[in-house]
């Protein structure tokens, strides 16, 4: 079986439209959340969002291709192009049939859906745009990445709500580990900051109603009351170790394990005892061939909803045992980016990998009031310098989807 390493990273995020800007924001505890500008959210009492700023798709990809995409696809393609460039893969030197794409989205082209459904109502059934279907379908981000990069191997999208990005990375890992591909572009993309997307989550009481961008996304804080919607994409280049060594690629980290489970409990609420997420964490630890105590850092799902953060805390205790859970560092970078839904697991994998590489743990900002139901070490408010060996990346989605990936620091030797 092949070992699998990370050789390229790409990100479009509320903290910046490159991995360098994203990581610089995270490791300095900078908040990427600001006032909601895309529409007036007053009627649903939503005032802030993690919006992507200064993004011009036509500057980073073929103009005509960009025009044919919903923003979720544009973000995904832009992140994929950055990741491929970063990996220094020469498409003429590799076997394109052995390079695949698994990039998912929680929802897909929701902007195209909203626009065209309004148009259908206003102008009639026969006025729906021909680009509606190709822009809206959730798999098109993976299709467009294949078109933009030349990857001709396995090409698919995974839809597991907020776990989509992390499930995509995990399944891509398995594709390489078990020999179906040498290189996989894996991650997630989302662009749901629009009227229908935000109203839908607001109707579930899932969104923060705070007007202050610096107090709205408050993971693990006692006063947390909902998540802040974010948008963007993350894409990782996963590669077999043999392929990476052969082309003398820069290696960021190794992916050593993956766990995927279903809660079998409720459509939107996580199982309160955290058992579903805990089983996924245990699987990822077991596949990595390590013990719970070897996990140094967990990038939590940490949405800032009342239900998630306490049940995820329980899940970590259940998976690691009380002793290891008490000493592991846990942070939610959603405190700085908001929640990118299907993109979350992907940018948070990048955060975990950079933490391993640089020995800096990104903080959970906006954490001022401790909650007795959230009693772990959350790297509160300030980044922490700490050399770490293993990191878990947790993503938990509506539907009870739990995805956990495990990354190991790359020591520049086999």
């Amino acid at each position: 079986m092949e070992r699998v390493v990370i050789t390229g990273l790409g990100a479009i995020t509320p903290l910046g439209n490159s991995v360098a800007e994203f990581w610089d924001g995270l490791k300095n505890g900078r908040n990427g959340i600001g006032p909601l500008t895309k529409f007036d959210g007053e009627a649903i009492n939503v005032h802030v969002a993690g919006e992507v700023r200064n993004f011009e798709a036509k500057k980073v990809m073929d103009r005509k291709l960009a025009k044919r995409m919903d923003p979720f696809s544009q973000y995904g393609v832009a992140a994929a192009l950055e990741a491929v460039k970063d990996s220094e893969i020469d498409m003429d030197e590799i076997d394109a049939d052995r390079m695949g794409v698994i990039v998912g989205s929680g929802i897909g082209g929701l902007n195209a859906m909203q626009d065209q459904i309004i148009k259908m109502h206003e102008k009639g059934l026969d006025r729906v745009a021909p680009f509606f279907v190709p822009m809206a379908i959730g798999n098109m981000v993976a299709g467009n990445i294949s078109i933009a990069t030349g990857a001709k191997g396995p090409n698919l999208s995974i839809v597991t709500a907020c776990a989509s990005g992390n499930n995509s990375i995990g399944e891509a890992y398995r594709n390489i580990k078990h020999g179906y591909a040498d290189i996989m572009l894996a991650g997630g993309a989302e662009a749901s900051i629009n009227e229908i997307g935000m109203s839908g989550f607001a109707a579930l009481n899932a969104l923060s109603t705070n007007e202050d961008p610096n107090a709205a996304s408050t993971p693990f804080d006692k006063n947390r009351h909902g998540f802040v919607m974010g948008e963007g994409a993350g894409v990782l280049v996963l590669e077999s170790l043999s392929s990476a060594l052969k082309r003398k690629a820069k290696i960021y980290a190794e992916i050593t394990g993956y766990g995927a489970t279903g809660d079998s409990f409720h459509m939107t609420a996580p199982s309160p005892d955290g058992s579903g997420a805990a089983r996924a964490m245990k699987q990822a630890i077991k596949e990595s061939g390590i013990e719970a105590a070897d996990i140094d850092y967990i990038n939590a799902h940490g949405t800032s909803t009342p239900a998630n953060d306490s049940s995820e805390t329980e899940a970590i205790k259940l998976a690691l045992g009380d002793e290891a859970a008490a000493s592991v560092a846990v942070s939610s970078t959603k405190s700085m980016t908001g929640h990118l839904l299907g993109g979350a697991g992907a940018i948070e994998a990048i955060a975990s990998i950079k933490a391993l590489q640089e020995g800096i743990l990104p903080p959970t900002i906006n954490l001022s009031t401790p909650d007795e139901a959230c009693d772990l070490d959350y790297v509160s408010n300030q980044p922490r310098e700490k050399a770490i060996q293993y990191a878990l990346n947790n993503s938990l989605g509506f539907g009870g989807h739990n995805a956990v990936t495990c990354f190991k620091k790359w020591e520049d030797k086999e």
Binding site: R63, K64, K67, R68, K123, R127, A129, P130
Partner: protein, 76 residues
């Protein structure tokens, strides 16, 4: 804005071309490399702009064909 200018603007925007490349005699399928998706979208945009219905794209090969078709629809 004349009918031609409006149609020119739609085609320029959809196909990412320069205005000078889109003239009355231009064959948009061959000279502008419009694929079937582009063509459907251009027709959809023209329908929106002029509030008309283009039943079939058959016989529409040049920009002038489009202009004449649209002007015929508006008059009737």
């Amino acid at each position: 804005m004349t009918t031609f200018e409006k149609i020119q603007e739609i085609i320029v925007d959809q196909l990412d071309k320069e205005e000078t490349e889109v003239q009355l005699s231009t064959n948009f399928r061959e000279e502008l490399e419009a694929d079937s998706l582009d063509l459907f979208q251009i027709i959809n945009d023209i329908e929106d702009e002029f509030d008309i219905k283009i039943e079939s794209e058959e016989g529409l090969t040049t920009v002038e064909d489009l202009v004449k078709y649209v002007e015929g629809q508006i008059e009737s």
